[in-house]
């Protein structure tokens, strides 16, 4: 019998890879701007983020980072933290931090 939990391995495995590709694509496109002096100006950044599609792409990437980080950290915790109570606490903390980051990014994009 297959249920939601019993296919979690496949889902997480796929999610890690799909989010990784999204994050890589965004980083690859953004990174050169960091190193080009004429693109790394305040005005240039403002102009870039004036476009709606840039805001959407950014939020999509942030969402990908959140999911990717969650799966990664969950794996780390389930490897090294054997105390269920401590692991639960750490996972809650991580979820809160990731949620805060997500909301922060959202607020920045809609301003």
């Amino acid at each position: 019998m297959v249920n939601r939990l019993s296919r979690r391995g496949v889902q997480d495995w796929l999610a890690q890879r799909v989010t990784a590709i999204i994050i890589f694509a965004y980083t690859f496109l953004m990174m050169p701007r960091l190193f080009c002096p004429h693109l790394n100006t305040h005005i240039a950044w403002q102009a870039l983020f004036a476009h709606t599609w840039v805001k959407v792409a950014t939020l999509l990437t942030v969402a990908s980072i959140l999911w990717h980080a969650w799966i990664g950290l969950w794996t780390v915790f389930t490897d090294y933290v054997k105390s269920a109570g401590l692991r639960c606490l750490l996972q809650i903390l991580v979820i809160l931090v990731l949620a805060a980051i997500g909301l922060w990014a959202l607020l920045l994009m809609v301003q």
């Binding site: 297959v2 939990l5 296919r7 391995g9 496949v10 495995w13």
Partner: protein, 245 residues
């Protein structure tokens, strides 16, 4: 015969006697290789055991097919009977296979290893009876699919070298069990492929592999569990789950 080694080799063996020792300790045993009959580490170990009969280690076939004498040799898992003495330095540190409870000296409790193997149902599951008085046939190509998977001797060198197995020996099946699972998934005579794959879709069974490749490095038969696990991942992603009947 090769020139006989005249070195004195120091075997630094992890000794642990339950009831006497709190934890394992290394103890040195000098062996003059000129006195050792044979070219393998197992021969030197047996020579040391002649003078120190209480050194505990498993061995049987002495030719690399039974998988009994797996141990950690200078930091790397291997079989003592196929590890050549002339390829070893003067000091050889022997510890038990990592990650499994130590019963005594170099003897570990293999229960967790066998438990994980049982979970993959390592036997053919066929829906129909075999044709009367005939074998279930395979083409040579179908038979080739089993190469690199059927040769496993269950020595546990790979699984006990896997950090993911160390951290979750009850949940992650480990390289050997997953190699066995792949062997049956790939067998054209088996009728339970979908069922086998569905058993592995959970978060732990097959997906704790981090491609560390310790398993590939230590396998005495030259097998590649990382590749088998990748094959299983691919099969699971590419095929749908079987609906509960």
């Amino acid at each position: 015969m090769a020139t006989q080694d005249n070195r004195t080799m120091t075997l630094s063996i992890s000794r642990y006697c339950p009831g006497e020792d709190k934890k394992p300790k290394l103890k040195d045993y000098d062996v003059n290789l000129a006195d050792v009959k044979g070219q393998m580490l197992l021969d030197a170990l047996l020579h040391a055991k002649e003078k120190n009969p209480d050194i505990g280690f498993r061995f049987s076939c002495s030719e690399g097919v039974c998988g009994s004498d797996g141990m950690n040799i200078n930091g790397v898992n291997g079989l003592a009977c196929v590890t050549r003495l002339d390829e070893l330095p003067d000091k050889v540190v022997l510890r038990p296979l990592p990650g499994l409870p130590i019963i005594r000296d170099l003897i570990v409790d293999m229960t967790q290893f066998y438990d994980q193997l049982h979970k993959v149902n390592p036997y053919l599951k066929c829906k129909k009876m075999a044709p009367a008085n005939k074998e279930r046939k395979q083409t040579p190509e179908e038979r080739n699919e089993l190469d690199g998977l059927y040769e496993c001797i269950l020595c546990a060198c790979c699984t006990t070298a896997c950090p993911s197995f160390w951290w979750n020996p009850d949940k992650f099946l480990g390289p050997a069990a997953l190699l066995a699972a792949c062997r049956f998934v790939k067998d054209s005579r088996d009728d339970a492929k979908a069922e086998r794959l569905d058993e592995l879709r959970g978060a732990f069974a097959a997906f704790r592999c981090r491609v560390i490749m310790n398993c590939v490095r230590v396998c005495p038969k030259g097998l590649n569990p990382t590749k088998a696990i990748a094959e299983l991942h691919k099969e699971m992603v590419m095929t749908d789950e079987e609906e509960a009947s």
